[in-house]
Structures are given as structure tokens and as C-alpha cells.
Amino acid sequence: MSQQVNPFIQADGTKPSCMQMLQIILDEQASADQKEYFKFHMAKCLPCFKSYNIDATIKELLKSKCCAGEAPHDLIEVIKQKINQQLSL
């Protein structure tokens, strides 16, 4: 692959560390160019590859296990009733 310009380099020329790049990716703040660059970067940087896989797995686990399910079915009705009560005062 031809040497890409690192899209993580900031306007003032600062080059972010691996950890900073990883955080931008994990926090889902990366542009398409940054994502692409990081994919190639991971292929040659074992610590980034390992960290990314662990953090990405944790994110998946969070998404699948940490939703409290649906709100109680009567909650919307209770809210509507309370608002109507307030309006009729």
C-alpha cells in the first residue's frame, strides 16, 4: 500500500499517539479516512490490534447486556395523565 498521509495529524502538526488514535476510534469520533488509516495501522501494530479487539468486544458486550429493556408499559400513559392534570389546574 502506498504511504498515506496520517489523517489523525492535527492542524498544528501534532501527531497523535497510538492510544490517542485508538480513543478517537473507540469513541466513534473518527472520520472515514481516519477509520481506514487505523485499519491499516492495526495490521502492523500489535499493541493497537490487541487493545482495539478488547475494547471493541467490551463495547459490544455493553450494547448487548446493558440496556434495561423497555420502559414500563404504563409510563407514557402516566406522563400524559400528569400533564393533562396540570393543564386542567
Binding site: 469513541d27 466513534e28 458486550l61 455493553l62 446493558c66 434495561a68 423497555e70 420502559a71 409510563l75
Partner: protein, 193 residues
Amino acid sequence: MEDTQRISYTEKEKNEVFTNEFLPLIHSMYNFGYRLTLDRDDAKDLVQDTYMKAYRFIESFQTGTNAKAWLFRILKNSFINDYRKKSKEPSKVDYQEVETYYNSEDVDRQITPDLRVESLKDMMGDEISNALNSLEVDFRTVIILCDLEGFKYEEMAKILDIPIGTVRSRLHRARQLLKEKLSVYAKQMGYNN
């Protein structure tokens, strides 16, 4: 309410905004309330209270802007003002120290807990949920906003009334703490990491 620009809605428009933009977010709001209070009844009260406030202050909401971020901000403020006061005060001092530490230049030298993907994939029970719930509420909150709700830095900064740099550092620290907790669970499950 931070937004000073107020909009005059008719009663009909008010109800439309409330029904079409606010109410469909009830499940995300309830999950956020539950993850903050860690109690289903308290979460219900908090969400109710948030929607009441949202209705009362609906004129400071501009249609077409991010209703979810607007509602999450009200819920977070209600939690801090009404609920958190009743429960034990957070350990502000420890917390500040942690943030100062992160903001120093030593950040790359932090030790990452040694976790393995296989051990995480074996966590089929409540480990991840318990690990998240055990984090101090400010750390828990950024994980919820980013990883469960997909908010951007700028939106999180507005919801939490903190600078973007603090959002970033808090998220970094929260991820570290979460990994430390999960690493303890992995050891208990027999993984020697």
C-alpha cells in the same frame, strides 16, 4: 435551560413535538435513568419528572435540533439536583485527583489491565452490567452516553456541561476502570489473563 431563544408553540404544536419527538425516546430515557439511579422505581420517577419539565419548558426547544440530547440533559440535571442530593454525595476529591492525573502528560504510561478477548466472550451473565454499575456515576455516565447511546463529544459536552477535553479524558479513564473491574471478574472465572 441554557437555550435563551424561546419559540411560541400553539397547544397543538406543543403536543405534536411532545408526542412525535419526545415520547418515542422513552426507552433510551428509561435506560439512562435506570443506569444513573440503579433502581427501576427511581428511574421511572426520574423519567416522569424529566418529561414534565420538558413539557413545561418546551418553548426553549427548537424543532429540528437534537431532541435526544436536549432530553438527556434535563434528565441528567434532574438527577443531580433532585436525586443525587438525597443519596450520598459523590467523592469529589478523589474524582478531581483522577482527572488531574489524566490531564497530566503521563497518560501514555498508564498500565492497561491485561484482559483477553476470550475471557470477555465468556462473560454471559451480569458481569459487564455489574462492572458498569460499580463505576462512579460520572464515569458510568460517559460510557452510557458514548457506547450505549452513540452521542458525539460535542453533544456529551452539552449534556454534561463540561468541556470536550474533559469528556475525552473522562471516557478514557472510565474505559480503564471498566477494564480493571472486568479483569477481576476474568480472574474469578479462572482466566489468568
